[in-house]
């Protein structure tokens, strides 16, 4: 098991390297490069949970390895005869239980932050279709599909999600957001991206034949650029051909 853990750590490192040095605009995630307060919150909650939970993994695997090495049958070896130990049994019931309470408290705080967004700067309605996303900006009367979602940097974006056909799930790992889009129901999520750039994601709920190709592309732009983009969108549908091609390629 130790080897495996070394392998896993190496894996993390390698993929991180590949992600930073690799092909054009690789997908980013909340663990390596969290974008915005929500993603950072998810990450610190994750690290905290790891600190409380992982010792049990190492303890159990360590004890197992120790037993395998130490208690290998030997001719004339002595056998222990104990069959129970109440104190020990109470301990290994109570300590994990208390650890879980300790884990639960900050988790609930983070959940609250996920569920109660700060004051919204921009509302976007996201509608899932087989197999593309439609984005609507009610405040500006804009809607389009099969293009990147464009949002201003440093602003709180709240999402209302729904679907016209099957269940989809809108997932951008860098933002720490994943929310199902159900037919006949509106669900909510929010994020706040601070740095301009391209952020990638994909549909996370099996939605049919081309589920794997239902990519998500989010363009975070400086607020001024966002304003001019809105104006341009309102004037008429003049989609940048390079942009459309990019979205389709994912």
């Amino acid at each position: 098991m130790k080897k495996i853990r070394v392998l896993f750590t190496t894996a993390l490192l390698l993929v991180t390297l590949a992600a930073t040095a690799g092909a054009e605009e690789p997908i980013t995630n909340w663990l390596v490069s969290p974008e915005g307060p929500l993603a950072r919150e998810v990450r610190s909650n994750f690290f905290f949970s790891m600190i409380t939970i992982m010792p049990f993994l190492f303890l159990a695997e360590g004890l197992l390895l120790y037993c395998v090495v130490r208690f290998k049958a030997r001719p004339g070896g002595r056998l222990a005869t104990f069959r129970e130990n109440l104190r020990l049994e109470v301990l290994w019931t109570v300590i994990p239980a208390l650890t879980l309470v300790v884990t639960a408290v900050p988790t609930y705080q983070t959940m609250r932050k996920m569920e109660v967004p700060p004051k919204s700067d921009l509302v976007v309605a996201i509608v899932g279709h087989q197999f593309f996303w439609e984005y609507r900006y009610p405040k500006y009367g804009i809607s389009f599909a099969e293009e990147a979602l464009v949002v201003p940097a440093g602003k709180v974006v709240t999402l209302n999600l729904s679907s016209v056909d099957v269940v989809h799930s809108w997932w951008v790992p860098a933002f720490g957001v994943k929310q199902d889009a159900n037919p006949g129901r509106i669900t909510n999520a929010w994020f706040k991206a601070e740095n301009p750039g391209h952020y990638k994601g994909q549909c996370a709920e099996l939605c049919g034949r081309l589920h794997a190709k239902m990519f998500i592309d989010v363009k975070v732009v400086p607020p001024e650029e966002f304003e001019s983009w809105i104006l341009q969108k309102k004037v008429g549908p003049l989609p940048d051909p390079a942009d459309t091609a990019k979205t389709k390629r994912g």
Partner: protein, 521 residues
């Protein structure tokens, strides 16, 4: 009841002997596992590079759905039933199950069911493509018009019926047919896990049957149980489905825990540590197992208070699971460990199941779960639990009990190779998936971003090892049946210390198991 047993094919077609029925279950499981495993191979072949065209997307989704369906409903669950059928009556000192004919029916229902599953590939439009979870509306008539889905539903109905009948049989057998002196708290752990398991099946499976019936009438008669336009709700399916399918996770692991609780003490040459605590833990897992289902729905938009409740219960269920792990470790402690193949699989079970348990615990942490839900992280987690847990336990059980069932001992040298191929192959296949999920690879995809290619290649390579291990395992079984080393009544020397009745009778046991019903003191 007793007397001359028919020979050959007639014996197998007409048998009501619990041992024969147990063997029939296990043979069917081997057969289905070959297909379930081959389907997984096709999936791994398609994923061995980004944008491959081994399988067309629709076909990929079909094999994906059927890999899950076969492995869960036709491999793991009936394998547990197979061992349960063979060993529960033996372990409680009974001559047979309480209802031998019902027992036979439970098995034979599986054949038409398997026929429906395989047949559904060949109808127009192919079989179910919405995953083994069959989420609506994707599995509804509008989005999956193929009659393959109806066949899939009917097939699951038959499996469910088989499970329910089996569960009733197990409960009645364990409550009524114990030999004199076999008090509840003298029952071996495998019997306890089956008692709790059968109770879970009895309470959970009818809910699946209800959900499936609604899905079927929605499809066939246009009722709108799951259709918002008719006042229905797709989330209702998710609740009902997981109300069954989460307990089903425990249905798939509890008897495995029972097997491990026989294997570890036997080869540590000690008694099981903390018997009563273990029994309590099994009961606790069974009960709490009914209160965690919505942790499969943390991203679905359910009420936040519901999310908080289910997150907490999911953490709570780790406590009795931890009790079991620590008690097994204490069983090993101070023993004289004999590393037979069964023991290797038993120890492998602990090591892998702990991994799966810990990753399951991280999934109770809602903010993290939301990120990795429906990603490869979950694929990794569920395979550590179902493969690293259930399948390792079943392999341990096979090497452990094969001498009792066949009178011959599986080749231990081959066993050692099989164990290492499977243990290493399992980790190479599934460990990288944890990272892939965190990095953003969704599950149930036929292709992925080029960034994910390397670890997918590693994973597909791991499958080759698993495949080799599986093939060698089959070879070992056939080879041993033909010319394996003969087994005594108690080839592992278990009886003097463990006193479990399976080792007190001949290998294989005679019709009706015991020449004289043993008395337990």
């Amino acid at each position: 009841m007793s007397g001359e047993r028919p020979k050959g094919l007639k014996r197998w077609l007409t048998t009501t002997d619990h041992k024969d029925i147990g063997l029939l279950y296990l043979w069917l499981v081997l057969f289905m596992a070959v297909f379930g495993g081959a389907f997984a191979g096709l999936l791994r072949a398609q994923l061995s590079a980004s944008d491959l065209k081994v399988l067309e997307p629709d076909l990929y989704n079909q094999f994906l759905s059927m890999h899950g369906t076969l492995m869960i409903f036709f491999v793991i669950i009936p394998a547990m039933a197979g061992f349960g059928n063979y060993f529960v009556p033996l372990l409680i000192g009974a001559r047979d199950m309480a209802f031998p004919k019902l027992n036979a029916l439970s098995f034979w229902l599986l054949l038409p069911s398997a026929g429906l599953m395989f047949g559904s590939f060949f109808v127009q439009g192919g079989t179910a493509q919405a995953g083994w979870t069959g989420y609506v509306p994707l599995s509804s008539r509008q989005f999956s018009g193929t009659p393959g889905v109806d066949m899939w539903i009917l097939g699951l109905h038959l499996v469910g019926l088989s499970s329910i009948l089996g569960a009733i049989n197990f409960i009645v057998t364990i409550v009524n047919m114990r030999a004199s002196g076999m008090e509840y708290f003298k029952m071996p752990l495998f019997v306890w896990t089956w008692l709790v398991n059968a109770t879970l099946i009895l309470f959970a499976t009818p809910v699946l049957a209800g959900a499936l019936t609604m899905a079927l009438t929605d499809r066939v008669f246009g009722t709108g149980f799951f259709r918002p336009s008719e006042g229905g709700d797709p989330l209702l399916w998710q609740h009902l489905f997981w109300f069954y399918s989460h307990p089903a996770v425990y249905i798939m692991i509890l008897p495995g825990m029972g097997i491990i609780s026989h294997v570890l003490p036997t080869f540590s040459q000690k008694k099981l540590f903390g018997y009563k605590g273990m029994v309590a833990a099994v009961g606790g897992i069974g009960f709490i197992g009914f209160l965690v289902w919505a942790h499969h729905m943390f991203t679905s938009g359910i009420d936040p208070r519901l999310r908080a409740f289910f997150a907490f219960m999911t953490m709570v269920i780790a406590v009795p699971t931890g009790v079991k792990i620590f008690s097994w470790l204490a069983t090993l402690w101070g023993g004289q460990l004999r590393f037979t193949t069964a023991m290797k699989f038993g120890l492998g079970f602990i090591s892998l199941f702990v991994m799966g348990g810990i990753s399951g615990l991280t999934l109770a942490v809602v903010p993290f779960d939301v990120q990795v839900h429906d990603s490869y992280y979950v694929v990794a987690h569920l395979h550590y639990v179902l493969f690293g847990g259930s399948v390792m336990a079943l392999l341990a059980g096979t090497f452990f009990w094969f001498p009792k069932m066949s009178g011959r001992i599986l080749d231990e040298k081959l066993g050692k190779i099989i164990f290492w191929l499977i243990f290493i192959g399992m980790n190479i296949t599934f460990l990288p998936m944890h990272w892939l999920g965190i990095a953003g690879m969704a599950r149930r995809v036929y292709t992925y971003r080029p960034e994910f290619e390397f670890w997918n290649q590693v994973s597909s390579f791991g499958y080759i090892l698993l495949f080799a291990g599986g093939m060698l395992f089959l070879y070992n079984i056939f080879k041993t049946l033909k010319r394996g080393e003969k087994a005594t009544n108690d080839p592992w020397g278990a009886y003097p210390l463990q006193r479990t009745l399976d080792w007190s009778t001949s290998s294989p046991p005679p019709v009706e198991n015991f020449t004289r019903i043993p008395e337990i003191v």
